[in-house]
Amino acid sequence: MSNETIPNLESYDDDSLAKAFSALENLAKDDASALGAEDFRLRWLGRKQGLLNDVSSRYLKAAPPAFKKSVGERFKVLKELVEGLLESASGAGPSDAALAAEAIDITLPGTRRLIGAEHPITKTLNEIVNVFAALGYSVGVGPEVETDFYNFESMNFPPGHPARDTQDTLVVANQERRSQRDRLLLRTHTSPVQMRTMEQQPPPVRIVIPGKVHRNDAQDATHSPIFHQVEGLCVDTNITFSDLKGTLDHAMKALFGSSVKTRFFPSFFPFTEPSADVQISCIFCGGKGCRKCKQSGWIELLGCGMVDPAVFAFAAEKQPAYDPKKISGFAFGMGVERIAMMKYGISEIGQFYAGDMRFLGQFA
């Protein structure tokens, strides 16, 4: 350190001064930590060879009159720093007056950095997936562009079913020449992953399937051509309807709180039988009846049922172990947007896809 000298001043412009004084301040700080209090005092404040003396003579006194003031101000700051460092080094610590001079306005807002927010759909989707992961479900995913076979035929959608109509399904161009089951379309539900999984893997199967799906729907407050689903599939020997009930009752309590009740209604889906719609007791009013639940005390949340033997028959073409006489299973599915809208009080489904910083920032 001893061979270090104060830097040469290239010119008196602001940049040069700032550079030189910044180097000096760093040097003083380095010295303060490296040297004892007395050595530091001698090196910086020594009457003859002290560095401050040198700075004064080489910068301040040599400065042309026009720059005297700016050099002087910087010199004063440096001197205060050196004196402060000496006070700390000698153990007495700075005086209250010195500390008071350093007062800041602590009421000014803090400098904030953006914290990126998880998308409310991702957040909700992960919450649902985690509930089923804790019940022993692995995550399954599949392509967003599917064949008619996986999306419809193997899910037991009869040939004339309205969902197969392009009114309801977005299709890839130029499919007319292909056989019906090979035609490509945007999957309308995540159910195809059920069939893909069963074709790959004999029972037991326990998967939860999150994903993006599409329908040829006009956008309104609660409908969007793009939305997300979480489906689940559980197949084993001796899986029963009461297992389906218990699983979903448990999952709804895990998602919405232990006081939530579920009830099951007969419904119809091509790929399950018996099929059910599931309602949960209204999370807003606790079941007393309010505007959100249309005074019924219940909110419809998901569809489910026992896997239809016809679906197993398709799976058995590749995995003979899916014999509906020996195994059974249940499947369920729910719309992520609907649950996210309910959880976060979102009234327009379109907000999920608009990329508006103000909307997304609320979820940080």
């Binding site: 950095r113 759909i121 022993g136 009461s242 218990g246 448990h250 007969p266 239809d308």
Partner: protein, 701 residues
């Protein structure tokens, strides 16, 4: 559909519950009551029903009553089909079914000497006036109202012809080209050769199962009537109705599959009402059936049902007795099935003609569960066997998302689609763009080949709404290939605009720039175990730089020798086209390529306890010499004690005309095992000076 509880109860004298309970119990069995409206003292309630299309049998009072009888295990009164003695006729009325593919059964009954009058409550069981008033069903005449009453009661459409307008007998056939029929709505229709019609020997009389004809309708003068009750094929009726733009109560029912056995019952109900004000029956009921249709509706093969299957599928009930044989028998018999023992714990079940939706054993099991009540089953959990497998790339995807969020980027989800023009601009593989056959709009005509269009739409949306600080990313799927075979890959898109820091009263914000975003890209790449990560760009005229990027302010991201993405400033032409005045930084990373690398596993190194020594070098460089050259020159020294070096400050003095620039190079020396001596440091210093000198830098004097 509307249901009167007063009418329902007339079929269920023992019904043990009030209307509200009845509504809830029906709803929980899939016969949904959407609204309950009290009709005043003694009148019961009106139920607004929402019945799924597969349960057409329950879209009438007797059908709902049958459900209630099954639920509560109470008796269902048979429908009153008693008729007065017929007078003999010389010969049976002539009915012929030509279209045997489309008409399975046709019954005809001749009534003579009737009087068409106002509707009344005719007799107990035919309180037509009371029920119609409560339903607010318009009363037309005793004849029309009789057919409507019958349909509302038990679901079978019927038709009454003025017998004196008929020429010869009835023929059910397809229309002939050019034939005309004026239907009951007063419209003269030209018939299509595909139309199924009821005709006499001279002319068309009615669109079968859809609407009757004007000329043969019952009027105030009508004395003699032919009552039609038939079974028409669902598809034939749907096609006829659609061709003529008609949707009637009758077509609604036939399209969903009518009850093959309902025709004679309905004929009796209508006839009895028509005869309540005088007149008589002539001859026996004429009943023509097509055996092939009867075989697939009324005489379907019995289905085998095993109690063990019922229990295997349904599981545990709340009540300890579970689903035992008597419960199964009680429920299915109440629904109209016939159960005959066929071995130990097995039944042979005959199926009711009105439930064409029941075909298989599982359908019967569903009926048992439904009527038993889904909420009567316990909540059990299946035994858990086997472990949970995470998706192979789940951890990598989480690392990417977390890094982006930690860098201050909000996650967005953009459209899966873009316009063909945007796709052409941004597709990483030119020409590999997949169009949709029925796009939502022209702007959404193709599957997105890149996440960049979505990111640009999002940044534009924000900037146009005066939200100036934008940091967004999307981790989503991009599509390539062709309409023959579509490839899907995961990608990361990101976009930034505005200033850093985002908000501060104390620090002057500055515009976010290329290197801010480069830092984020480096941090994403650093999540993976890569040997090399470097950035380069190509001459503007090389055609390699993506057209959406500023050719001099953009870079390719190269990890382990593979291009994993591009980012930089949006090309000014693209910014102008989107009316974006602020500089926008945008990029895309091909995650499938990054995911091939393992995630970096942090490994702790011993932290040296010896004093580090920092040295700064003030360098002057020609503008053509990039930092990379200096960086590589120092790295090539391979000095173990040279633990860190970085560009501390870059200064481009405009006065020097951009020919050269200053660089403050900060270097840190530190040894793991000793304090560095002065002479060592001097040697290192000289090595650094020599290395950067060879790279073209000179020390500022």
């Amino acid at each position: 559909m509307k249901i009167l509880t007063k009418w329902l109860r007339s079929y269920l004298p023992e019904l043990p519950v009030d209307d509200a309970q009845l509504a809830e119990d029906l709803t929980l069995r899939g016969i949904a009551v959407e609204g309950i409206y009290s009709l005043g003292e003694g009148n019961g309630s009106l139920f607004e029903m929402d019945i799924t299309t597969n349960r057409v049998d329950a879209m009438n009072h007797y059908g709902v009553a049958r459900e209630a009888a099954a639920i509560y295990g109470v008796a269902l009164k048979p429908l009153d089909i008693s008729l007065p003695e017929a007078k003999p006729s010389a010969k049976p009325f002539d009915v012929k079914i030509e279209a045997t593919d489309a008409c399975g059964r046709f019954t005809a009954r001749v009534l003579r000497g009737i009087t068409v009058t106002e509707t009344k409550d005719w007799y107990p069981g035919a309180e037509v006036e009371t029920y119609f008033n409560l339903l607010e069903q318009k009363k037309i005449s005793s004849a029309v109202d009789a057919t409507n009453f019958c349909w509302l009661a038990m679901g079978q459409p019927t038709h009454a012809f003025d017998l004196d307008k008929l020429e010869g007998g009835i023929i059910v056939r397809r229309a002939r080209k050019g034939e005309k029929l004026k239907t009951l709505d007063g419209i003269e229709r030209t018939l299509d050769p595909e139309d199924l019609i009821v005709a006499d020997h001279a002319k068309p009389l009615a669109l079968a199962g859809v609407m009757g004809g004007w000329d043969s309708m019952i009027t105030a003068e009508t004395k003699n009537v032919l009552v039609e009750a038939a079974w028409f094929d669902p598809i034939a009726v749907r096609r006829t109705a659609r061709r003529h733009g008609l949707h009637t109560d009758a077509s609604h029912r036939f399209e969903r599959g009518a009850d093959f056995n309902a025709a004679p019952v309905a004929s009796a109900i209508v006839s009895k009402i028509l005869l309540a004000f005088g007149g008589h029956i002539e001859g026996d009921l004429v009943d023509v059936r097509v055996p092939a249709v009867e075989a697939r509706t009324n005489s379907r093969a019995a289905v085998s049902l095993a109690l063990s299957e019922v229990q295997r599928m349904l599981g545990t009930t709340v009540h300890s007795e579970g689903i035992a044989a008597p419960m199964v028998e009680k429920i299915l018999v109440a629904l109209g099935c016939g159960l005959a023992p066929a071995g130990d714990g097995v039944w042979s079940v005959t199926l009711p003609s009105w439930r064409l939706d029941i075909e298989r054993e599982i359908d019967l099991i569903e009926e048992v569960a439904r009527v038993y009540g889904y909420n009567g089953f316990a909540n059990t959990l299946p035994a858990f066997g086997g472990g949970v497998q995470a998706l192979p790339w789940a951890a990598a995807e989480a690392a990417v998302r977390n890094t982006m969020r930690a860098a201050g980027f909000h996650e967005a989800i953009a459209s899966t689609f873009c316009s063909a023009a945007e796709a052409a601009l941004t597709a990483p593989q030119p020409g590999q763009v997949v169009p949709l056959g029925n796009p939502l709009s022209e702007e959404a005509g193709v599957l997105r080949p890149s996440l960049v269009p979505g990111m640009l739409a999002a940044v534009a949306g924000n900037l146009h709404r005066d939200v100036s600080d934008v940091r967004l990313f999307e981790a989503g799927t991009v599509f390539s290939g062709s309409t023959e075979k579509v490839e899907e890959r995961p990608a990361l898109g990101f976009v930034a605009a505005g200033t850093v820091p985002e908000q501060s009263a104390l620090h002057a914000p500055r515009a976010i720039d290329f290197h801010d975003v480069k830092g984020v890209v480096e941090q994403v790449a650093a999540q993976f175990q890569a040997r090399t990560v470097y950035f380069d760009r190509f001459p503007a005229d090389s055609g390699i730089m993506p057209r959406w990027l500023h050719p001099y302010r953009a870079a390719r991201i190269n990890v382990d020798g593979t291009t994993v993405g591009w980012f930089g400033q949006l090309h000014p032409n693209e910014a102008a086209a989107r009316k974006l005045k602020d500089a926008v930084l945008v990029g895309e990373i091909y995650l499938d390529r990054l995911y091939k690398l393992p995630l970096r596993k942090p490994a702790a190194r011993e932290v040296s306890r010896f004093q580090p020594v920092r040295r700064d070098f003030s360098l002057v460089l020609d503008a053509s010499i990039s930092w990379e050259k200096i960086d590589q020159a120092i790295a090539a020294l391979q000095l173990p004690e040279l633990v860190d070096w970085r560009a501390r400050e870059v200064f481009r003095d405009p006065k020097r005309g951009g020919k050269e620039y200053s660089l403050l190079l900060g270097v840190t020396f530190q040894a793991a095992d000793r304090t560095l001596r002065d002479e060592e440091l001097q040697a290192f210093h000289a090595q650094v000076v020599a290395a950067v000198g060879a790279a073209g830098a000179r020390l500022r004097s």
